[in-house]
């Protein structure tokens, strides 16, 4: 790369000229010496744990003594790679951890597989890995296996990360989408739409500025705080793509119930609300990466709400609705002015409107 060339990766501008060993090149994916160097010098340091450092073809772990295992996998693609409140590294760990904890599992191990774009500056990769490390530490998980491939320039958008997670479900927990019962209370752990809009603002295509930060966070601690006070938790789910509306519809369908929510109780940050009004988005459909929907037996709703509010990731917890019998498999919302409307799943992409 010449002295004058600027490397722009999704908003990060690198002013220094980059030498050959400071970017990812195709040789790094070849499996030979360069791959070995990349792994030992760049990947091992942040993820150092005995299992990973053994360097074998597969990680070998001890089976937990009791409880079922939960397994989840997710691929992570985001542009820009770094955005206010988070980055692809944090997203890749938190996302899979949250899928596990939504089954009531305690996360144990993660694997991480990377597709790197030829030309990616190594310092960008390093920053993403540091972020994975700190998020994994926060969640108490170890990254025990991994893989790296390099794709030609133009074929991978910087970095793609795929993570698979394994967790242990302590006996006595029965949390899944078909478990919502009539009379249950529906809680949400905080403001909606932060992540989706933070990323959209950071992309810059729609030209707006907002002081909105992604909420990306691992929610294992919040979930354990909930189980510490109640044995009547029926459903946990993190409302990611498609937002709260899509998540509640999934649950309503799986459980064969109706979920009724109140518009005035739905927490939305004023900046997110303003951005949604401007673009014609509905916050109910915007992605979240650090929020929890909790469906709990009515008797335990109060203690669960209090326990959630006490946790740093649940301070904005609100009781937003109840589970009813009919109409089945529907989500209804009582609007601020007292009307009722059906809340459907997201269809296609969220697009800014002019109407």
């Amino acid at each position: 790369m010449s002295e004058e060339e600027q490397v722009v990766i999704h908003g990060l501008v690198c002013p220094r000229p980059l030498a050959h060993d400071e970017t990812v090149v195709l040789g790094h994916g070849s499996g030979g010496r360069m791959t070995f160097d990349l792994i030992t010098k760049t990947f091992y340091p942040p993820f150092s744990n005995p299992t990973l450092l053994r360097g074998d073809d597969a990680a070998v772990v001890e089976r937990p003594e009791e409880g079922k295992l939960a397994v989840s996998t997710d691929a992570h693609i985001v542009a820009p790679l770094f955005f206010p409140g988070g980055d692809i590294g944090r997203l890749s760990v938190a996302g899979t951890v949250n899928d596990l904890v939504c089954m009531g599992a305690q996360p144990l191990w993660l694997t991480a597989s990377f597709i790197l774009e030829e030309g990616l500056p190594l310092y960008v990769l390093q920053a993403a890995l540091e972020s994975m490390k700190s998020t994994a530490e926060e969640a108490g998980v170890q990254i025990i296996a991994g893989d790296t491939k390099v794709a030609e320039r133009g074929k991978a958008d910087g970095i793609f990360i795929s993570t698979t997670g394994v967790g242990r479900i302590p006996p006595g927990r029965d949390v899944h989408g078909a478990n919502a019962k009539v009379g249950d209370v529906v809680l949400v752990s905080g403001t909606l739409g932060d992540h989706g809009l933070a990323v959209l603002a950071a992309r810059g295509e729609l030209g707006f500025e907002a002081q909105i930060r992604s909420d990306v966070a691992p929610l294992h601690g919040l979930v354990e705080a909930i189980f510490a006070v109640s044995t009547d938790i029926h459903v946990l789910r993190d409302p990611t793509r498609g937002g709260l509306a899509t998540t509640l519809n999934e649950i309503a369908r799986q459980s064969g119930v109706c979920i009724e929510i109140e518009e005035t109780m739905i927490p939305v940050d004023p900046s997110v609300e303003a951005a949604c009004e401007m673009l014609g988005f509905d916050p109910l459909y915007v992605a979240n990466e650090g929020k929890l929907v909790v469906i709990v037996g009515a008797g335990d709703a109060d203690v669960v709400e209090a326990a959630m509010r006490d946790h740093p990731y649940g301070t904005g917890t609100k009781r937003i609705g109840v589970v009813c019998e009919a109409p089945e498999r529907r989500v209804l919302m009582k609007t601020g002015i007292g009307g009722t409307r059906v809340v459907d799943v997201l269809s296609g992409e969220l697009l800014p409107r002019i109407c």
């Binding site: 030209g207 002015i337 007292g338 409307r341 002019i354």
Partner: protein, 365 residues
Amino acid sequence: MKYISEYRDADLVKKVIADIHSTATRDWVLMEICGGQTHAIVRHGLGQLLPAQIELVHGPGCPVCVTPLELIDKALAIAARPEVIFTSYGDMLRVPGSQRDLFSIRAEGGDVRVVYSPLDAIKIARENPEKQVVFFAIGFETTAPANAMSVVQAASLGLENFSLLVSHVRVPPAMHAILNSPHNRVQGFLAAGHVCAVMGYWEYPPIAQTYKVPIVVTGFEPLDIARGILETVKLLEVDRYEVTNAYSRAVTRAGNQAAQQVIDRVFEPCDRKWRGIGMIPESGWRLRPEYARFDAEQLFDVEAIQAEESPLCIAGEILQGLKKPHHCEAFGNPCTPENPLGATMVSTEGACAAYYRYGRLEHPA
């Protein structure tokens, strides 16, 4: 949010709705011609709070819905060209043409970009001098000032790689067409607030007098819409066919003169086909001959493209208030927002789409 929250005040809204209940002594059919108002009514669940005597018909107020099928096909043909960057407001991407939509053109490698404002399209044109940037200029009178300014800017910047694919429509001719129809049931109109912010409401008194319908300029928040309905009903109850302004914080009788001047400079009236309704004379705007170099329809030689609507679709009758979505045999199956057959299902504001998403409780399909 200032100028929004006050107009969503539940107590004030309920009060006005109670007034509507006590004022209406007969059945009345009202129409709004504004996608934004349709959306607001459905989003806030306003329809069910009204007395059973008031029937609200959602007219052809969504510029996305009324864009003729052949124009979508022309857009797709242009967007598929390798030298073109096709820019559009977000709503249009999902609208299917005879076979495909802009999303699928993008998937096949076409450069299709969503923009929030036509000025963004100008910026793209400046940054990509080797490409032809085409902007899909749809909209009612509200959007015309923006679209017109983009042409003025392009001219003043001397851009040679920027053009507009124009599909502008105007409200007053549509009102004439609806009220003129022998089957017309509409007795009162809520006039679109932001259309009037631009054009004023001086065009409406002749319509009100000729057809004996009250017309009330109405805003978009629940309180505004409730007030618009209340004022219309009050006028109907005493047989007064007048035009009044219930959105006075944003609308004056003369409208926005600066905007009207620029529109007039760039556009001239023309006949326009409305999807589902057909040709309405003088109901559209097209670029004036002196701006022909910015007319994508001429530049890209797509004038010959024709298209046929689905025979199952009754959008025309729905747009005129003669039928409701659940009256359509195809509603819900096979016609859905994911697989729309016609104008009123293609956009989220279309009457059928709004019904499908929000209203199915009352009329399960």
